[in-house]
């Protein structure tokens, strides 16, 4: 009963090919000599000339640096806010505003980005009129916007991690004499640390990758990397974008491999621990 049918296995294969062929094509053609991205110039390929062109492209490098700074700031702010919201939702029981908070933390995840972007820009314009801040749009408004939709993801991750732990852990700590702040620092925080880390990584990726919201709330002179890429590729394929994509795929691949190795190590240790526990019960 365990073995899946041939059909579903075949579909899994088709699906995975479907997911990876485009990425693979980006990588392969980043080494192509021809400016025509889709025609393999066998005589002069592979070549690294598009990588060289990429590294010489000041616009792209500036945009990448801006995107990194925004993503770092937004992911960190979202990490803090999302952790607070997740803890409140998972641990504070019913409180006034809970439904509102729960609704507002999940809504940004599914809200079409054009609406979020438009709404945030209108807010920033109205705020500037009313209190004179933020002055114009730019990195600050992009960061605020990214923080808002990223914190939703952190909240969900933290909340579901906490839901997996019995609240009696915190009660036990209190029972043993730990005041609320100590309970949070010594029990809750270590428990949700992995969730905060993965929430932060998720937030960083989303911010780094965001185009639509940024387009609305970015001002002149504050183009993020996706905005620069978008304006380039709207006019058709461009080999240095392929090179950029390859570098990004490489970065993700390295990160994921490291995570996979860590997971495998943990799994091995867990199995050893289970054997220990089983030995203890006999």
């Amino acid at each position: 009963m365990r073995s899946p049918g041939y059909f579903s296995r075949a579909m899994l294969g088709v699906g995975l090919v479907f997911l990876y062929v485009p990425i693979l094509s980006l990588v392969v053609f980043s080494f192509n000599n021809s400016r025509l991205v889709t025609v393999w110039d066998a005589a002069h390929s592979p070549t690294l000339k598009w990588y060289a062109a990429l590294l010489a492209n000041g616009e792209i490098l500036d945009a990448a640096w801006l995107s990194i700074r925004i993503a770092l700031a937004a992911a960190t702010a979202a990490g803090v806010l999302g952790t607070l919201a997740g803890v409140a939702l998972a641990r504070h029981g019913p409180f006034r505003g809970r439904t509102l908070l729960a609704g507002m933390t999940t809504a940004p995840i599914v809200m079409p980005e054009v609406i979020t972007g438009l709404a945030l820009l209108l807010l920033f314009v109205a705020m500037e009129q009313a209190i004179g801040w933020p002055r114009g749009t730019g990195a600050v408004t992009i960061t605020l916007a990214h923080t808002t939709f990223c914190m939703a993801y952190v909240t969900v991750v933290v909340q579901s991690r906490l839901a997996g732990f019995d609240e009696s852990l915190e009660e036990a700590a209190m029972d043993l004499g730990a005041a609320p702040a100590t309970v949070f620092r010594r029990i809750t925080l270590p428990l949700i640390a992995p969730a905060i880390v993965s929430g932060w990584l998720l937030a960083f990726t989303l911010s780094w990758d965001d185009l639509v919201t940024s387009q609305f709330v970015a001002g002149p002179g504050s183009s993020t990397l996706p905005m620069v890429i978008f304006s380039k590729v709207r006019l058709g394929v461009s080999p240095d974008v392929n090179a950029l994509a390859t570098l990004m795929v490489l970065a993700v691949a390295i990160g994921i491999s490291a995570a996979a190795l860590l997971l495998r190590y943990r799994e091995r240790r867990r199995q050893r621990d289970m054997q220990l526990a089983a030995a203890g019960s006999s």
Partner: protein, 298 residues
């Protein structure tokens, strides 16, 4: 019930994110709502104030003209309907592809499951924009697919695939497939294999077992996955911009054009409000299913 934490500390924990979201999520939508009832002005900002000062007394000025315009110009209705169609077709295709994938992963050996899941998730971590961009190179007239097909002699003239409905479906299915597979996997993985054994024991053949045991049990997973694809697909902007038709716009593109090209903020706001109204039902359904999921984990 006494929960841990002093009252003031607890209020801060919930209060800070609540305040943040109120200012940067709730208030913006009220502003959108407000401006959708305003009129366009050639000014900064380009809309009329909502309260006209009448002898020093603020009088609200509500204009329904934007909504009237949305109804009168068939462009908008057609964009809405087209978005619905694209989202529905893409969701269906995603389901047809994603369900067998999730099923195969859930039924594979536990050690292999993690790897397969990671393979499905991995593209999600790489740039969405660049993954959509990759399809331009694949689909265009002198693109990779056409070149391969021509080389194999299967076709004699390049197929027109880019800037068609087909390319938009491909783009959406491609981008949102993980969102379909993950909730379905989470659901299918929990199924008790003994149920299928019991059904087999009672004489049900494989297809009947799937139809009468597996499928009914996975309804919630299907619903969650479909909503996670359908909702963002409705408002999709990047995919139709890069891959889609130029003669038929999706509503996300219409909103963005009204805003950036025509500088008609009030009309763009009205489009956003109508879009939100369209999405209220699916979003509520999704939130309910997520809450159920979270409570089930407790």
């Amino acid at each position: 019930m006494r929960r841990f934490g002093s009252p003031s500390g607890r209020r801060l924990v919930a209060g800070i994110p609540l305040a943040w979201l109120a200012v940067l999520f709730l208030v913006p939508f009220l502003i959108v709502l407000k401006i959708s009832f305003s009129e366009m002005r050639l000014a900064v900002p380009p809309y009329a104030p909502l309260f006209a000062s009448h002898h020093g007394v603020p009088v609200p000025e509500l204009h329904l003209s934007n909504y009237a315009f949305l109804v009168s110009d068939p462009l908008y209705a057609s964009a809405f309907l087209y978005s619905l169609k694209v989202a529905a077709v893409s969701t269906a295709v995603c389901l047809l592809l994603g369900y067998p994938m999730a099923y195969a992963i859930a039924r594979s050996r536990p050690s292999r499951r993690t790897v397969l899941l990671m393979l499905v998730m991995l593209p999600f971590w790489t740039s969405f924009l660049l993954r959509v961009y990759a399809w331009i190179g694949l689909l265009q007239n002198d693109g990779i697919i056409n070149n391969v097909l021509l080389y194999l002699g299967l076709i004699h003239r390049p197929l027109v695939m880019l800037q068609t409905d087909f390319s938009v479906y491909i783009g959406i299915v491609y981008s949102y497939l993980p969102f379909m597979v993950l909730p379905l996997y989470a659901n299918l993985e929990k199924h008790d294999p003994a149920l299928l054994e019991a059904a087999a024991d009672l004489g049900a053949r494989p297809f009947a077992r799937f139809l009468r045991i597996t499928l009914p049990q996975s309804v919630h997973g299907i619903a969650a996955g479909s909503l996670l694809v359908f909702i963002p697909a409705i408002g999709e902007y990047v995919i139709p911009s890069l891959l889609g038709r130029t003669d038929q716009l999706m509503i996300g593109r219409v909103l963005s054009d009204e805003f950036f090209e025509n500088r008609d903020w009030p009309l763009a706001s009205a489009v956003a409000i109508v879009m939100l109204l369209l999405l209220v039902v699916p979003i509520t359904l999704l939130q309910r299913s997520e809450r159920r999921e979270l409570e089930a984990r407790r």
